[in-house]
Protein backbone atom coordinates (compact mmCIF):
# COMPACT_ATOMS: atom_id res chain seq x y z
CA UNK A 1 0.00 0.00 0.00
CA UNK A 2 2.79 2.38 0.99
CA UNK A 3 4.70 1.55 -2.20
CA UNK A 4 1.65 2.37 -4.34
CA UNK A 5 1.22 5.72 -2.46
CA UNK A 6 4.84 6.66 -3.12
CA UNK A 7 4.66 5.85 -6.81
CA UNK A 8 1.47 7.84 -7.33
CA UNK A 9 3.06 10.79 -5.50
CA UNK A 10 6.17 10.39 -7.62
CA UNK A 11 4.03 10.25 -10.73
CA UNK A 12 2.29 13.43 -9.63
CA UNK A 13 5.69 15.09 -9.04
CA UNK A 14 6.85 14.12 -12.52
CA UNK A 15 3.59 15.36 -13.99
CA UNK A 16 3.89 18.69 -12.18
CA UNK A 17 7.49 19.05 -13.29
CA UNK A 18 6.48 18.30 -16.88
CA UNK A 19 3.69 20.86 -16.74
CA UNK A 20 6.03 23.45 -15.23
CA UNK A 21 8.72 22.91 -17.86
CA UNK A 22 6.27 22.83 -20.74
CA UNK A 23 4.75 26.03 -19.42
CA UNK A 24 8.18 27.67 -19.14
CA UNK A 25 9.19 26.46 -22.59
CA UNK A 26 6.03 27.80 -24.19
CA UNK A 27 6.33 31.09 -22.34
CA UNK A 28 9.94 31.58 -23.36
CA UNK A 29 9.21 30.32 -26.86
CA UNK A 30 6.36 32.72 -27.44
CA UNK A 31 8.20 35.55 -25.69
CA UNK A 32 11.24 35.14 -27.93
CA UNK A 33 9.09 34.69 -31.01
CA UNK A 34 7.18 37.90 -30.41
CA UNK A 35 10.31 39.93 -29.69
CA UNK A 36 12.00 38.53 -32.78
CA UNK A 37 8.90 39.25 -34.86
CA UNK A 38 8.79 42.83 -33.64
CA UNK A 39 12.43 43.75 -34.29
CA UNK A 40 12.32 44.35 -38.03
CA UNK A 41 8.86 45.88 -37.89
CA UNK A 42 10.14 48.43 -35.38
CA UNK A 43 13.15 49.20 -37.59
CA UNK A 44 11.20 49.49 -40.85
CA UNK A 45 7.68 50.66 -40.01
CA UNK A 46 6.86 51.86 -43.51
CA UNK A 47 7.64 48.46 -44.98
CA UNK A 48 5.52 46.82 -42.33
CA UNK A 49 2.68 49.26 -43.05
CA UNK A 50 2.90 48.26 -46.70
CA UNK A 51 2.77 44.58 -45.76
CA UNK A 52 -0.35 45.28 -43.67
CA UNK A 53 -1.89 47.20 -46.57
CA UNK A 54 -1.32 44.19 -48.81
CA UNK A 55 -3.84 42.23 -46.77
CA UNK A 56 -6.41 44.60 -48.31
CA UNK A 57 -8.41 44.94 -45.13
CA UNK A 58 -7.00 48.27 -44.07
CA UNK A 59 -6.25 51.24 -46.26
CA UNK A 60 -2.97 53.18 -46.07
CA UNK A 61 -4.23 55.21 -43.12
CA UNK A 62 -5.08 52.34 -40.79
CA UNK A 63 -2.06 50.39 -41.98
CA UNK A 64 0.17 53.22 -40.79
CA UNK A 65 -1.51 53.18 -37.37
CA UNK A 66 -1.15 49.40 -37.23
CA UNK A 67 2.55 49.69 -38.03
CA UNK A 68 2.97 52.15 -35.16
CA UNK A 69 1.07 50.02 -32.65
CA UNK A 70 1.41 46.29 -33.31
CA UNK A 71 5.22 45.84 -33.20
CA UNK A 72 5.36 47.49 -29.77
CA UNK A 73 2.44 45.44 -28.52
CA UNK A 74 4.31 42.33 -29.65
CA UNK A 75 7.52 43.47 -27.96
CA UNK A 76 5.80 44.31 -24.67
CA UNK A 77 3.90 41.02 -24.61
CA UNK A 78 7.14 39.25 -25.53
CA UNK A 79 9.08 40.82 -22.67
CA UNK A 80 6.22 40.23 -20.24
CA UNK A 81 6.11 36.56 -21.22
CA UNK A 82 9.86 36.19 -20.73
CA UNK A 83 9.81 37.94 -17.36
CA UNK A 84 6.58 36.35 -16.13
CA UNK A 85 5.00 39.73 -15.42
CA UNK A 86 1.16 39.79 -15.39
CA UNK A 87 1.29 36.30 -16.82
CA UNK A 88 -2.45 35.60 -16.78
CA UNK A 89 -3.22 38.70 -18.81
CA UNK A 90 -0.26 38.42 -21.11
CA UNK A 91 -0.92 34.79 -22.13
CA UNK A 92 -4.47 35.80 -22.98
CA UNK A 93 -3.28 38.75 -25.11
CA UNK A 94 -0.78 36.44 -26.79
CA UNK A 95 -3.55 34.03 -27.77
CA UNK A 96 -5.70 36.89 -29.08
CA UNK A 97 -2.77 38.11 -31.22
CA UNK A 98 -2.13 34.62 -32.61
CA UNK A 99 -5.80 34.23 -33.39
CA UNK A 100 -5.94 37.60 -35.18
CA UNK A 101 -2.90 36.70 -37.29
CA UNK A 102 -4.54 33.40 -38.19
CA UNK A 103 -7.70 35.17 -39.37
CA UNK A 104 -5.64 37.60 -41.48
CA UNK A 105 -3.70 34.79 -43.09
CA UNK A 106 -6.80 32.67 -43.80
CA UNK A 107 -8.68 35.56 -45.38
CA UNK A 108 -5.67 36.41 -47.54
CA UNK A 109 -5.47 32.80 -48.68
CA UNK A 110 -9.20 32.56 -49.42
CA UNK A 111 -9.10 35.80 -51.40
CA UNK A 112 -6.09 34.50 -53.31
CA UNK A 113 -3.86 37.39 -52.36
CA UNK A 114 -0.33 36.80 -53.56
CA UNK A 115 1.56 38.48 -50.77
CA UNK A 116 4.24 37.87 -48.26
CA UNK A 117 3.05 37.03 -44.81
CA UNK A 118 4.76 40.04 -43.18
CA UNK A 119 5.04 38.00 -40.01
CA UNK A 120 8.78 37.82 -39.63
CA UNK A 121 10.48 39.62 -42.49
CA UNK A 122 13.18 37.01 -42.41
CA UNK A 123 15.14 35.28 -45.11
CA UNK A 124 13.05 32.84 -47.03
CA UNK A 125 9.90 34.45 -45.67
CA UNK A 126 7.07 32.43 -47.01
CA UNK A 127 4.10 33.37 -49.11
CA UNK A 128 0.59 32.93 -47.85
CA UNK A 129 -0.11 29.25 -48.41
CA UNK A 130 -1.42 26.21 -46.60
CA UNK A 131 1.87 25.79 -44.78
CA UNK A 132 1.62 29.33 -43.41
CA UNK A 133 -1.95 28.65 -42.30
CA UNK A 134 -0.87 25.44 -40.60
CA UNK A 135 1.92 27.33 -38.86
CA UNK A 136 -0.56 29.89 -37.54
CA UNK A 137 -3.04 27.22 -36.44
CA UNK A 138 -0.23 25.59 -34.50
CA UNK A 139 0.58 28.90 -32.82
CA UNK A 140 -3.06 29.37 -31.83
CA UNK A 141 -3.25 25.87 -30.38
CA UNK A 142 -0.01 26.36 -28.45
CA UNK A 143 -1.11 29.77 -27.17
CA UNK A 144 -4.37 28.29 -25.87
CA UNK A 145 -2.35 25.51 -24.22
CA UNK A 146 -0.23 28.22 -22.61
CA UNK A 147 -3.35 29.81 -21.09
CA UNK A 148 -4.40 26.44 -19.65
CA UNK A 149 -0.92 25.68 -18.34
CA UNK A 150 -0.70 29.14 -16.80
CA UNK A 151 -3.94 28.47 -14.87
CA UNK A 152 -2.62 25.13 -13.61
CA UNK A 153 0.76 26.55 -12.59
CA UNK A 154 -0.77 29.55 -10.82
CA UNK A 155 -3.19 27.39 -8.86
CA UNK A 156 -0.69 24.72 -7.85
Amino acid sequence: MARQGISSREAQKVKNRLIKWTYLLLRIGFGSLLIYASIYKIGSPFEFAEAVENYRIFGTDLSLWTAVFIPYLEAIIGFALLSGLWSETVVLLNAVLMFLFLILVIQAYIRGLDIRCGCFFAEGESRIGLLKIFENVLFVVLSISLIKLNKIVKHS
Binding site: I42, G43, S44, P45, F46, A49, E53, G59, T60, D61, L62, L64, W65, A67, V68, F69, I70, P71, Y72, L73, A75, I76, I77, A80, W86, E88, T89, V90, L92, L93
Partner: protein
Protein backbone atom coordinates in the same frame (compact mmCIF):
# COMPACT_ATOMS: atom_id res chain seq x y z
CA UNK B 1 -4.19 44.63 -10.51
CA UNK B 2 -7.47 44.03 -12.26
CA UNK B 3 -7.24 42.15 -15.59
CA UNK B 4 -8.83 44.93 -17.61
CA UNK B 5 -6.52 47.52 -16.11
CA UNK B 6 -3.54 45.37 -17.06
CA UNK B 7 -4.82 44.96 -20.62
CA UNK B 8 -5.51 48.68 -20.85
CA UNK B 9 -2.04 49.50 -19.55
CA UNK B 10 -0.35 47.21 -22.07
CA UNK B 11 -2.38 48.57 -24.98
CA UNK B 12 -1.88 52.21 -24.03
CA UNK B 13 1.84 51.68 -23.36
CA UNK B 14 2.27 49.99 -26.75
CA UNK B 15 0.54 52.86 -28.44
CA UNK B 16 2.42 55.63 -26.64
CA UNK B 17 5.82 53.98 -27.01
CA UNK B 18 5.07 53.23 -30.65
CA UNK B 19 4.22 56.83 -31.47
CA UNK B 20 7.20 58.17 -29.48
CA UNK B 21 9.77 55.80 -30.99
CA UNK B 22 8.49 56.44 -34.50
CA UNK B 23 8.82 60.16 -33.97
CA UNK B 24 12.46 59.73 -32.87
CA UNK B 25 13.40 57.11 -35.46
CA UNK B 26 14.64 58.81 -38.65
CA UNK B 27 12.93 56.02 -40.64
CA UNK B 28 9.82 56.09 -38.51
CA UNK B 29 6.26 57.12 -39.29
CA UNK B 30 5.97 60.72 -38.09
CA UNK B 31 3.07 61.90 -35.99
CA UNK B 32 2.26 64.48 -38.64
CA UNK B 33 1.42 61.70 -41.09
CA UNK B 34 -0.58 59.76 -38.52
CA UNK B 35 -2.64 62.84 -37.69
CA UNK B 36 -3.27 63.52 -41.36
CA UNK B 37 -4.59 60.05 -41.88
CA UNK B 38 -7.02 60.69 -39.04
CA UNK B 39 -8.56 63.77 -40.62
CA UNK B 40 -11.59 62.36 -42.34
CA UNK B 41 -12.12 65.80 -43.69
CA UNK B 42 -14.71 67.20 -46.00
CA UNK B 43 -16.07 65.22 -48.90
CA UNK B 44 -14.57 67.73 -51.27
CA UNK B 45 -11.18 66.58 -52.43
CA UNK B 46 -8.29 69.01 -52.21
CA UNK B 47 -6.64 67.42 -55.20
CA UNK B 48 -7.56 66.17 -58.65
CA UNK B 49 -6.94 62.75 -60.19
CA UNK B 50 -5.86 62.40 -63.79
CA UNK B 51 -5.22 59.46 -66.06
CA UNK B 52 -1.75 58.80 -67.38
CA UNK B 53 -2.79 59.99 -70.86
CA UNK B 54 -4.15 63.28 -69.53
CA UNK B 55 -1.01 63.71 -67.45
CA UNK B 56 1.05 63.39 -70.60
CA UNK B 57 -0.80 66.44 -71.89
CA UNK B 58 0.39 68.34 -68.82
CA UNK B 59 3.86 67.03 -69.51
CA UNK B 60 3.79 68.31 -73.08
CA UNK B 61 2.49 71.68 -71.90
CA UNK B 62 5.52 71.89 -69.69
CA UNK B 63 3.33 73.13 -66.90
CA UNK B 64 3.69 71.63 -63.51
CA UNK B 65 6.22 69.88 -61.39
CA UNK B 66 6.23 66.10 -61.33
CA UNK B 67 6.83 64.71 -57.88
CA UNK B 68 8.11 61.16 -57.65
CA UNK B 69 7.24 59.77 -54.21
CA UNK B 70 8.89 56.41 -54.80
CA UNK B 71 12.16 55.55 -53.06
CA UNK B 72 15.28 57.35 -54.20
CA UNK B 73 16.62 54.05 -55.41
CA UNK B 74 13.66 53.58 -57.75
CA UNK B 75 13.92 57.19 -58.89
CA UNK B 76 17.57 56.72 -59.74
CA UNK B 77 16.77 53.77 -61.99
CA UNK B 78 14.34 55.84 -64.00
CA UNK B 79 11.61 58.42 -63.57
CA UNK B 80 9.35 60.69 -65.57
CA UNK B 81 11.50 63.18 -67.44
CA UNK B 82 11.98 66.27 -65.33
CA UNK B 83 10.46 64.82 -62.16
CA UNK B 84 11.78 65.62 -58.72
CA UNK B 85 12.41 62.87 -56.18
CA UNK B 86 10.67 63.33 -52.84
CA UNK B 87 10.21 59.89 -51.26
CA UNK B 88 6.93 59.46 -49.43
CA UNK B 89 8.30 59.39 -45.92
CA UNK B 90 10.74 62.23 -46.65
CA UNK B 91 7.83 64.45 -47.59
CA UNK B 92 6.35 63.96 -44.15
CA UNK B 93 9.53 63.84 -42.11
CA UNK B 94 11.15 66.90 -43.69
CA UNK B 95 8.51 69.08 -45.34
CA UNK B 96 10.92 72.01 -45.04
CA UNK B 97 13.02 70.40 -47.79
CA UNK B 98 10.20 70.64 -50.30
CA UNK B 99 11.15 72.82 -53.30
CA UNK B 100 10.35 76.48 -52.75
CA UNK B 101 7.78 77.08 -55.47
CA UNK B 102 4.70 79.21 -55.85
CA UNK B 103 1.57 77.80 -54.23
CA UNK B 104 -0.35 78.22 -57.50
CA UNK B 105 2.07 75.88 -59.33
CA UNK B 106 0.65 72.64 -60.63
CA UNK B 107 2.02 69.62 -58.80
CA UNK B 108 1.65 66.14 -60.24
CA UNK B 109 2.24 63.40 -57.71
CA UNK B 110 2.93 59.87 -58.80
CA UNK B 111 3.88 56.61 -57.19
CA UNK B 112 4.88 53.30 -58.68
CA UNK B 113 1.62 51.42 -58.54
CA UNK B 114 -1.75 51.58 -60.17
CA UNK B 115 -3.74 52.75 -57.17
CA UNK B 116 -1.59 54.41 -54.63
CA UNK B 117 -2.96 55.55 -51.34
CA UNK B 118 0.45 57.03 -50.69
CA UNK B 119 0.02 59.33 -53.66
CA UNK B 120 -3.39 60.42 -52.34
CA UNK B 121 -1.97 61.01 -48.86
CA UNK B 122 0.92 63.00 -50.31
CA UNK B 123 -1.45 65.06 -52.43
CA UNK B 124 -3.64 65.80 -49.44
CA UNK B 125 -0.59 66.80 -47.45
CA UNK B 126 0.58 69.19 -50.17
CA UNK B 127 -2.88 70.67 -50.52
CA UNK B 128 -2.96 71.24 -46.75
CA UNK B 129 0.33 73.10 -47.06
CA UNK B 130 -1.31 75.60 -49.39
CA UNK B 131 -0.74 74.21 -52.87
CA UNK B 132 -3.85 74.92 -54.88
CA UNK B 133 -3.29 72.75 -57.96
CA UNK B 134 -2.35 69.28 -56.87
CA UNK B 135 -2.91 66.31 -59.17
CA UNK B 136 -2.48 62.61 -58.58
CA UNK B 137 -1.58 60.53 -61.62
CA UNK B 138 -3.69 57.39 -61.44
CA UNK B 139 -1.99 54.40 -62.98
CA UNK B 140 1.37 55.38 -61.59
CA UNK B 141 4.83 55.16 -63.06
CA UNK B 142 4.34 51.58 -64.16
CA UNK B 143 1.57 52.57 -66.55
CA UNK B 144 3.60 55.55 -67.81
CA UNK B 145 6.49 53.18 -68.45
CA UNK B 146 4.27 50.59 -70.08
CA UNK B 147 2.85 53.17 -72.50
CA UNK B 148 6.33 54.17 -73.56
CA UNK B 149 6.03 57.77 -72.36
CA UNK B 150 9.18 59.86 -71.81
CA UNK B 151 11.41 58.72 -68.99
CA UNK B 152 14.85 59.69 -67.84
CA UNK B 153 17.20 56.89 -67.00
CA UNK B 154 20.00 56.90 -64.47
CA UNK B 155 23.30 57.69 -66.07
CA UNK B 156 25.64 54.88 -65.07
Amino acid sequence: MNRFVQIGTILIASFVIGVAVNQINPHGIPLRLLCMSLSFGSHQKDYVETSVDSTLLLFFQGSGLFIDIRSEQDYNIDHIKGAVSIPFFELFRHPENFPKIDSTSTLIVYDYHLNSNRAFLSARFLANRGFKNVTVMRGGFIEWLDKGYPVERHKR
